[in-house]
Symmetry: D2
Subunit: 416 residues, 4 copies
């Protein structure tokens, strides 16, 4: 820890997060900062900020405004630069307002969903938009986050930009509410753990004994004692040779582990490169997987060289797939979300979301070989690792997934 | 040079800068990027961008719009995010529009000033404000820059914020123009060199033989061969013991050298710490002083230990000053700008702007001791070093300057 | 370029290197340092250092001593710390003396080899060992270098350690010379280019336009215009899906390219991760491949997704290999060096060093499938990419190579 | 904390250190490493290593050998590279053997000093030198350390170099012992605290709430509540204007605080530059001062500008001093060590070591002005800050100290 040159006095939370472990407690512990939350749920640490409460920060003034909807306790923080004048300059809108999207309203359960959607509408239209078109908006999530459906890649916006271009804000009050009530969202199992950790206050990570570099025999020993293997290499490398039982969560999508791996078993890692260790360990810890026992050193090659059992997963190209589908024994298992599947899929493909695959194995047709697909091949490889663990071996992964199929101009089916 | 992970294809210039050496040519040389300028003046490198010319950059579209006024060739660049819609998202406004201020209109000389001021008004009110309140604005300069009068410290703004709070934009067209025509600006001598280098294209810096670490006898030798000493330590350290003839431009205000040092002599440096070398050398080069011969190593202490001649400059406190002014032989020389002086000064003080001091030495009263003051002591120390070089030795610098005087609640005179 | 806090006054070369591009000229250009070489060959830049020439460096004294043998112009540099006394403290022994090994003597050609071996013996026994056991030795190469046969992994040693433990120094003069005359060394083709560049003085790298990020269609376009693809991913990833015609030189062994790729064609890159760009580009430039046109962005996945033609190379495990060898149509192609092959190989395997493979393709048996092996799989994958380019497609690479075979306790043949 | 790519399994201590807080416990806490100590004193943590105990570390073998003398529990660690052979390669000699010096033998008190000196002789001559001239030696301290008298600047050595050139090892056994028994050493008060912390195991630093940035009024408030001010600027800057009561320990010699500052009061800092914060805080914590409350922000200038009371300390040059000494009211107070003073001082100067000054104030002549001197001015400035705190104000510091006096060729007295 470096001694800070900036004094951090406050940690303001916009809401109880579900998709990662919040570091407020650790940051406060190192800086002496005060933590402020909204009034729902009841956090085990920090203070509750009041609606309209103001905090002077040098020449700036930060004001909390309650913006419930995504949760009952959501707070936005609006900053004014008193040296320039009274018009608000900046708002941290948390999960209330995103770039091109708004927050989910399904975390209260089905019975609360309509009410929460209504409250979200009021928060946006009666609290945020009136701040003025000129206000810079910094939301809590960006493109690709599970906390929205279609958040744009751009990270910064303004009230005026959202008022004019955010598609959800173009709807009437009634249509907005219907849309939010009926919108489909995934709810990965690790969200439950994040809720718990973020309300209780997670212990700091990174200060305990670090994970160990394991040679192949030590690595094998950990497996025999119950550790689960997370192989973070890209799918092609995983396909060419991996350890039996391992999960393939490529570094670009480490969050996949949250859909299938239990929290009560230690994890051991296969890394694309030893330099990836810090990134991988830190990001697993951010979604609660901090029981990391070690990683194979110097790389998977040491496993190969030790002549330890190595399993393969066939990788095929889109043209290969096209040809195989002429034969009756092959079927496509499309592990994308229902929405993605509806937007276009291979004819006669079976759609089971990868996150539900483990529980829906019995839906798989017997006696058929499975060509597993997602959009690019990464989620499909994770799905394949689940299938392999279940003993389903006549499977392959498609390089480039549906994107390759589409770009090859092969036929797309949009019927559901 | 690192191999870039981002591809830089374009370097867009907003205008011919006067206050630092632009690195476009060096950046383009390393990346193969194309350089685009406005149509005035005629640059020796790059291409002229057309008004309304568009450039696709992934999902973004960048459009040049001519916004003359600060110079005849000023261009702003407006970015649209086509994935979100057609409303402009972002504008790089160069020296046309700042946070809480607008660009200078005096660089065309007195005879052009009214015309340029009118053009600036049209550019802002007919080109920029119509983009909409929602547009994020990134100007070319921030607080403290000589390219404005009262630019705020905040670095980002929006069209809506400026429309509402920028004091200059609250004026009527006629008052805006009168204000700009009569506004007082400093024009440091190095601006002339920056103009020349930026039109011709300065050679890359940092790739020639680097400056040498000089021991005291080598340092003394450089002085005897004509090198000028720039002492970049803070004023109190300079006061306690410095090399005769050296200029005191504290690291926090290195740009001071541009007001008095010629470009045709080599410079040698006194650093507060050897680690400061890169910062100091880089920032001197940015205003054209790239003929740096070396620096004293390991620090000024080696000079002291060598028993080489060391000169002192008395530092006094505000209470000391108050007492001395009871005696007739002391007078305050206030080296701040006329505007600062008018806002409050010590009674009977003489105001000569530090940048003009070298040429106005004859205005100094003979037979009087000078307590030199600026706001904090940094510019005063630079002024003192000019006086000492001119043989005027009965001087002192006031620790904390006018700020200390004011905070001590001593009387302030506002008559001019 | 950062402004240096240490003054570099001299660049001392121990000898004309053959295995990488020396940066002396670039370093001297940035620092003003003087470059010193031995008297053979005639370099186009720098000065010749004299035998016994001394250089004061603060309290240290550096002395050049001629130690010919590896080349006629080899120089060692011995450092004394005059503050402690007259005993030499440190020697930079270049390619004359390594940890557990000594320099090659074959670069003068067969007719000079005996003479050079004799001179090497004299240099070591009459010049270096007499410096005393206490001298710390820093050689020019470490473990794995082609400039020795069995250089140890340890990077630092002393004269006393080498006198006692270096196996070559335990030989009598006669046996030493016979050993050096008959020792087998590889001579990769790029050595010839390194000789030329190091004598002439290579131009600085990294300051020209940097390589471009290429999307799949741009990448394909470069291929059609003659660029060669270097795929720097690990062999399993390469096997699972690569671009036809590409060479697989895994990041851990980038130097492989020097054995087969011409210098007159532009290269384009496949990277394991975009962060690897700087490492890969820098290391290719160090062996003279600085005509790098670009790299596929963001990764090979964009190629897959574009449905562009993708080729595969079968990867098999050691048990797979064992089983296949029961069938008559499979044969092992062992691409390791003769020495490695003699120390143990799969029975009936064919040994062609990977560096000679391109020129010895006609030795391959027709009508047989080839299981290509090296020690771990990296060189084998490079060899496979050469075979694939030659249209030989019934091949596979063995994961873990001979190491896996040995660790599986499968039979090893040592007859040659 | 970064997740380590190297596995740290052992922390080996050579002895109980006295001059800084050892980080073994913190390192072990983060890595799970085992800590090993010698058998004296009894540490509250870690294990006792046995004499001749061996530890395999890959291809290396590390062996502990007891080398008492500096303390009874000193251990050296000898490393062999089994891949090369059996000759020891490297020894970590702790405080037993330094470059050009050997360990102190006075920490057991006067009654043990002869015995410990004898044991040190045996350890060096019967344990270390027999390892052989070829062994690389890495000692625990370098030049300038209080743990030796004349440790050289060079950081690495070999047994052979020390055997030949270490001046203490050239003595006969009897002379060695006499020399060690009579050698003069300083014993700064903070050594006592280091002993305690290192035996008990200090708590980790840097993880508690960090120090606060304090504005002048907050800073003043801390002073009024008992915090001590440590001004880490260089002496000239301190002289020109500092806060009354502050200690001047320049960044280059932060350890000075250990001679006079109590451990039970909070400290607040004046920094030469805000960037220095991490360095200063970390190094104060290393000698046990971890009760740091804050630092003045952004710099001392904010104090000056607030018109808060500012005290000055006159700085004079060597020629100034020479002139003043013609007057009877000036006397030189030389605060260097007795040894330094004997090697040459200003005639009639009074020698009181700066570390004892606080307790020997009554020895100062009344009615005389004091020109305080050390070698360069840094220790003198610390001494001046002690004098000022004691109300002795007619003092000045000499820029460049005795070094300047000598280089000015002024008369030197060597009588004691």
């Amino acid at each position: 820890v470096k001694f800070a040159k900036v004094q951090i006095r406050y940690v303001f939370e916009t809401h109880r997060n579900q998709d990662y472990v919040v570091g407020s407690l650790e940051l406060a512990g190192e800086t002496g900062a005060g933590i402020y939350h909204g009034s729902w749920p009841r956090f085990n640490y920090g203070k509750i900020v009041e609606d309209e409460q103001k905090f002077p920060i040098g020449a700036l003034e930060l004001k909390a405004i309650y913006t419930p909807g995504h949760t009952l306790g959501c707070v936005s923080y609006v900053v004014t630069d008193l040296e320039s004048g009274n018009a608000p300059v900046l708002a941290f809108t948390g999960d209330t307002l995103f770039v091109d999207d708004v927050g989910r309203t399904d975390f209260g359960g089905p019975e609360k969903r309509r009410e929460w959607s209504e409250r979200l509408y009021e928060s946006i239209f009666q609290k945020l938009l009136p701040l003025g078109d000129q206000v810079i908006v910094l939301p809590a999530h960006g493109g690709g986050s599970l906390c929205g459906s279609n958040i744009a890649d751009r990270e910064v916006t303004t009230i005026g930009l959202e008022r004019r271009m955010n598609p959800v804000l173009q709807l009437s009050r009634q249509k907005f509410i219907e849309f939010k009530v009926n919108e489909h969202h995934e709810y990965p199992p690790y969200f439950r753990m994040m809720e718990k950790l973020n309300v209780e206050g997670a212990r700091p990570f990174g200060h305990g004994p670090s994970l160990r570099a394991l040679n192949p025999s030590e690595f094998k020993n950990e497996i025999s004692q119950g550790a689960l293997v997370v192989d973070t290499r890209a799918p092609p490398a995983f396909g060419a040779g991996h350890i039996e039982g391992s999960y393939n969560a490529a570094m670009a999508m480490l969050g996949l582990v949250g859909w299938a791996l239990p929290y009560d078993k230690p994890l051991i890692l296969i890394l694309p490169h030893q330099k990836s260790l810090d990134y991988v360990a830190r990001n697993l810890a951010r979604i609660g997987y901090d029981n990391l026992r070690g990683y194979l050193t110097p790389s998977i090659v040491s496993w190969y060289k030790s002549a330890l059992p190595t399993q393969q997963l066939e990788m095929i190209t889109a043209p290969d797939l096209k040809e195989r589908l002429c034969h009756n024994d092959w079927i496509v298992l499309d592990v994308r979300s229902r929405d993605e599947w509806i937007r276009g899929h291979v004819k006669d493909s079976l759609n089971i979301y990868f996150g539900q695959l483990e529980k829906r194995l019995e839906e798989l047709p017997t006696g058929r070989r499975l060509a597993v697909m997602c959009e690019s091949g990464i989620r499909a490889s994770f799905a394949c690792s689940i299938l392999l663990r279940a003993g389903i071996r006549k499977i392959c992964n498609v390089l480039g997934g549906m994107a390759a199929w589409k770009n090859a101009k092969y036929p797309i089916d949009k019927t559901s």
